[in-house]
Amino acid sequence: MTVAEQPLSVVGKSVYRRDGIGHVTGKTIYVDDISFPDMLHLKMVRSPLHHARIKGIDFSEAEKVPGFVRALTYKDVPKNIYTILCLIGVGPDDEPVLAAERVRYKGEQIAAIVAETEEAATEAASRVRLDLEELPAVFDVEEALKPGAPIVTDWGTNYFVYEGHECRRVRFGDVEQGFAQADYIVEECYQTYPTEHAPVETTACVAKPEPGGRYTVYTNTQALFFTLDNTALILQIPFNKLHFVGGTVGGGFGGKVDVIVEPIATLAAMKTGRPVKYKYTRTEEMQVSSTRSAWRMYFKDGVTKDGRIIARKVTSYADSGAYNRHTPYAVTKHAANVAGPYAIPNVWIDAYCVYTNRQPASAMRGFGVTPASFALECQMDKIAQTIGMDPWELRFINAYRNGDIKPHRKVVEDATLIEVMQAAAKLVGHPLPEHLLAMNSWDREAR
């Protein structure tokens, strides 16, 4: 019996979601609803400049604010430089929890202020005086790769190094031979802009010291153990000193896979012996939380008169902002997907993870694939227009089938592109010619 034929009782039924009533009536408990009688509040002193050397920090006026408890700087953080994906072997560590000598983007965390109230913490943070020496900044991915550009990273290049290469490569077939055999060469540059996740619930946590020497952290992370493990590594404490509680999130979209608020709030709880809440304001969510990377993608396709795409060369630049976070991985995922759900015999992809003096990018819904799908689907229309073919027809005749090999050498086994195109055409009442209706994803000859 195949899976499709299994008789099922509750899988496949639209049962009511159990948390739905709580969500729509405002009864669900989110992290910001959690409060303790002696809880402190944490606010950040942030860089007002895109790129600067830190020469001094003066807390004297901040300390005078009623309710001020203490400040934290990089000197208080046991392992200050980290990168989230060190847990799966991605490196090097590059991002400070609190900036030490240099800030690399406007809004970067320099010092934490812990106070009795949110208002006192905000007021005290605003009174910290920073002595900064402004440095030249770079914002464009291609400018950042030119000789003489301001260098953002500590390792000396404005690109991530993929096993000795300056970009993630995909090499499949012979793309130059494909171009030589093509009747048309279709080129275009596509650009996407940074996008904020815009969750209703902003990033937040409460870290609470427990009598037994452990710390309970209430968090809206999307990845409980990723966050716990990184927090323990940054604080240089055993993993089992931490107890993370989460599971209900008011919108993530990838923005809550970063590990930003938990380590510093837990450190503040350790230093003060009291619960500490660190919650992003909407402005922080907009200005300093991660975004989706901006992507610039250069496409060059070789196409025959009858509409076969026989060669595709793509050079992509992801704007990672100032630090790694998840972008090095997004670039690899992009490289695996930017040729698209089409059978193209010759593919060359160079995908760069580029550092600039911008707020860091990171994971976001569609991780490296959203820009790829955008560019390649606009490119499909451009090819159709260039060669004078119907855009539906072009997609059908190039669609990948089960058994094809993708450019990253993976055998296609779950393809249904043809079927969804047939269903979409039917849904909108767009008549497809017989030869397209006769196609399917399992039999290449059925056309």
Binding site: R17, D19, F225, H243, Q287, R358, L417, E419, K426
Partner: protein, 334 residues
């Protein structure tokens, strides 16, 4: 003033999971003496309804009512490890782990029921209504509450199960990019229809109509929720959203939703969808995943529709009124 209309299409694939660092998730199940089956996890519900669909998968495999399955998730002291809810992986990974755990728990449950009914476990089945019965003799049955009580007080057995799903780590070949980075592919095709005001540059999305193929739908209403939410999010990305409106310039960085503009309810277009089911070979009950992809096809479909309407190919998003007017002007100059 003129209003022009255009239509655009986009067809996409989307991969499930990301295992370049390995990609495991565990689930533990135990029966309580109240008739509840508790599934312990560390997976996070982002509002998409994960707790509900995972309870459905657990109930299906255990053969017990949905109402008897509780999800206890995201407490690191009690829940086993999960990589997290991202990469459209949660239903696929946690679902597979739950099936493995539920099979083990179901086996013990049927063995205890067999002892109580003086029957062979192989001759028993669950009715999905909270009872276990002898196949062919439905009057010989026992409730799952009584089985749970008997297991604990009479036989000294735990009705419990352990499950894990791992997609092993794939190394990327640095020269060729050869890799096995995901488990399966879902697909979508979107057709968008727009109206462009050539005087103001404003774009009105009239309709977003899509066909999806997501393997098995565990909960069709929640799949539809993903598709409709993703369509509107995709429209918002296509027309409005960015933190750097003059990228790469960092100027005009928004601070609130009054500057980072999102479409309102009055801009909601007609959203229609159909869902095809071609079960995947490795997902729980054939699940693929629908978490991330639902914004992906609407964006190029809408941008292609605007290009179609104004007769100029657009190559960026978001397509703001300013960019529409510049594109129209460039055509006039050319």
């Amino acid at each position: 003033m003129a209003k022009v209309r255009g239509t655009g299409i986009a067809a996409v694939n989307y991969p499930t999971g990301m295992n370049l660092g390995g990609d495991p998730t565990q689930a533990l199940i135990h029966a309580t003496t109240t008739g509840s089956f508790v599934i312990s996890l560390s997976s996070t519900d982002l509002g998409q309804g994960l707790k509900t669909v995972l309870a459905q998968i657990g109930a299906e495999t255990l053969g017990v009512p949905f109402e008897n399955v509780l999800i206890d998730t995201a407490d690191s002291d009690t829940g086993p490890h999960c990589m997290g809810t991202f990469a459209s992986r949660a239903t696929h990974r946690a679902g597979n782990a739950i099936i493995m755990a539920a099979k083990e728990a179901r086996k013990v449950m049927l063995e205890v029921a067999a002892d109580e009914l003086e029957a062979n476990p192989a001759d028993l089945d669950t009715d999905g209504q909270g009872n276990i019965f002898v196949k062919g003799s439905p009057d010989r049955s026992i409730s799952i509450v009584n089985v749970a009580l008997a297991a604990h007080f009479k036989y000294g057995r735990t009705i419990s199960g352990r499950g894990i799903y791992i997609k092993p780590k794939s190394e990327v070949d640095p020269e060729t990019g050869a890799m096995d980075p995901d488990s399966t592919e879902a697909h979508a095709c979107t057709v968008a229809e727009v109206e462009v005001d050539t005087e103001t540059g404003e774009v009105t999305v009239l309709s977003i109509k899509s066909a999806y193929e997501v393997g098995r739908q565990v909960n069709p209403a929640l799949v539809k929720g993903q598709i409709e939410g993703g369509s509107f999010m995709g429209m918002s990305h296509a027309l409005y959203e960015t933190t750097n409106p003059y990228y790469p310039s960092p100027e005009y960085h928004p601070t609130t939703f009054s500057e980072y503009v999102l479409p309102g309810p009055h801009e909601l277009p007609i959203i229609e969808s159909v869902v095809l089911e071609y079960p995947s070979v490795n997902g729980p009950y054939g699940v693929k995943g629908v978490g991330e992809m639902t914004a992906n096809s609407p964006i190029p479909a809408i941008v292609n529709a605007i290009s179609n309407a104004i007769g100029v190919r657009l190559t960026e998003f978001p397509v703001t009124p300013e960019k529409v007017l510049k594109a129209i002007k460039s055509k006039a100059v050319a």
